[in-house]
Point group: C2
Chain length 260, copies 2
């Protein structure tokens, strides 16, 4: 394996840019997955791995798994701990990181025409929330996730990690806006999540075979135009003092009720 | 209001220590709440505020709310943006921060003797998870939260913020371990959350009037000794590929089912 010792090496520089910039990720069609488990997940999910960066230390500790990863990787590099820290997004890096080609999920998403249970996210900003929601959606077998363009980038390293690899496997599609998406898919019944006592109570709803639950921004919820475009409004009845739930907590409970 | 311009001022130094160290928080009986909304929440919840730090900018923008906060604060200081960044735990600080006395919640927790629905957390490490779980617990009216000593500090600034002020209001108690806590409260039926198809399915359980749901560490789940000490084992049935849920997602769904 080639050793890279300069932070000015072009592979290092590009990986740093992939870590930091959604625009660069989109333009290059690449993203980063960090950590032993998630890199292995990428291999098992058949993702196309462009390069793998490992530290000497990681290679000694986890040689077998890392060799499996590198076998599927077009390029593999050994880097110093110092350089790895430049690429890493975590406080205690494991010393393994892959640069992966973004997947074309659009064709997969034709399944939507055959019905199923979907989740739509509008303007979700926090990468930890988005990662958790994707992980939960996959755990319960949600058929696909629709994200508006103004959501946090699904290929943000924190999202990739928090999703526990769901980004590799879960069908998803990015749309301009929820109202136009709904207009194009008239067969889908849609449920806008709102904080409003007059909306349908989550525990009283019978979700139809083909439906989408729509969840909005952490601070401001769904846009009015999106709520109007949905066929139903749902609310999670609460008894306590808090005004609302964290977006990922609300999404988890809604997914659970929609699927169970 | 006194202006502090040196980062060597003792008030500044102590606040930085409160931000960074759980030990110092425990020893001094103080913690930090940051942000306009959460500081105001502290005032409304009747928390004892030792000092308030604000930037000139924040004071100009939010004079009325900040004056309300400072009225209830024993000391108030204006600090430069540079100093505020030393105290702050966020990337885009709002410029308002309170040092608050920790509350003695133990007596409140006598309610446990009168029954109710409780949540017990064992060795939860991630402050974002803990904050979210506390927020959800308050939203659904959980009667109290039991935390093991090895959980992330409930007064960690990230937990305080993520809880949306639930730490000010939710009864909680710290215990050495779950088995001894359960032994001391024999009237409580206990449900250990496990990933195991042979456990009772969450959607089939009728939670009794007086019970506690017990949730474990993000990576390793509950300790065997804790699972054995519980009267029931519960599992969240999943259909997808993920092996497990994020701890806060699992907790949200369990709280929802326990309370609804």
């Amino acid at each position: 394996m080639l050793k890279l010792t300069s932070k000015d090496n072009v592979n290092i520089k590009n990986a740093v840019k992939l870590k930091n910039g959604a625009k660069f990720r989109r333009r290059s069609g690449l993203f980063i997955a960090e950590g032993l488990r998630i890199c292995r997940d990428a291999v098992l999910s058949g993702a196309e791995i462009e390069s793998t960066f490992v530290t000497e230390d990681a290679l000694t500790k986890h040689r077998q798994i890392i060799e499996e990863i590198c076998e599927k990787s077009s390029n593999s590099f050994i880097v110093t701990d110092e350089i790895f820290r430049l690429l890493s997004d975590t406080q205690s890096p494991q010393g393994v990181l892959c640069v992966i080609k973004t997947l074309d999920k659009v064709t997969e998403f034709d399944t939507i025409k055959n019905g199923g249970k979907f989740l739509a996210l509008e303007n979700i900003q926090d990468p930890n929330n988005l990662g958790t929601v994707l992980r939960t959606a996959e755990a319960f077998g949600v058929d696909g996730v629709i994200l508006t363009e103004d959501c946090c980038d699904i290929y943000n390293p924190k999202v990739v990690r928090g999703s526990m690899g769901a980004v590799f496997r879960l069908p998803f599609v990015t749309v301009d806006g929820i109202p136009s998406f709904l207009a194009e898919n008239p067969g889908l019944e849609s449920f806008a999540a709102v904080v409003d006592g007059s909306a349908e109570k989550l525990d009283k709803i019978s979700f139809p075979q083909s439906c989408v639950a729509v969840i909005g921004n952490e601070g401001s919820g769904l846009r009015d135009s999106t709520v109007s475009a949905c066929s139903h409004r749902l609310t999670i009845p609460m008894r306590g003092r808090a005004e609302s739930l964290n977006a990922s907590a609300a999404a988890s409970i809604i997914i659970w009720e929609m699927i169970k």
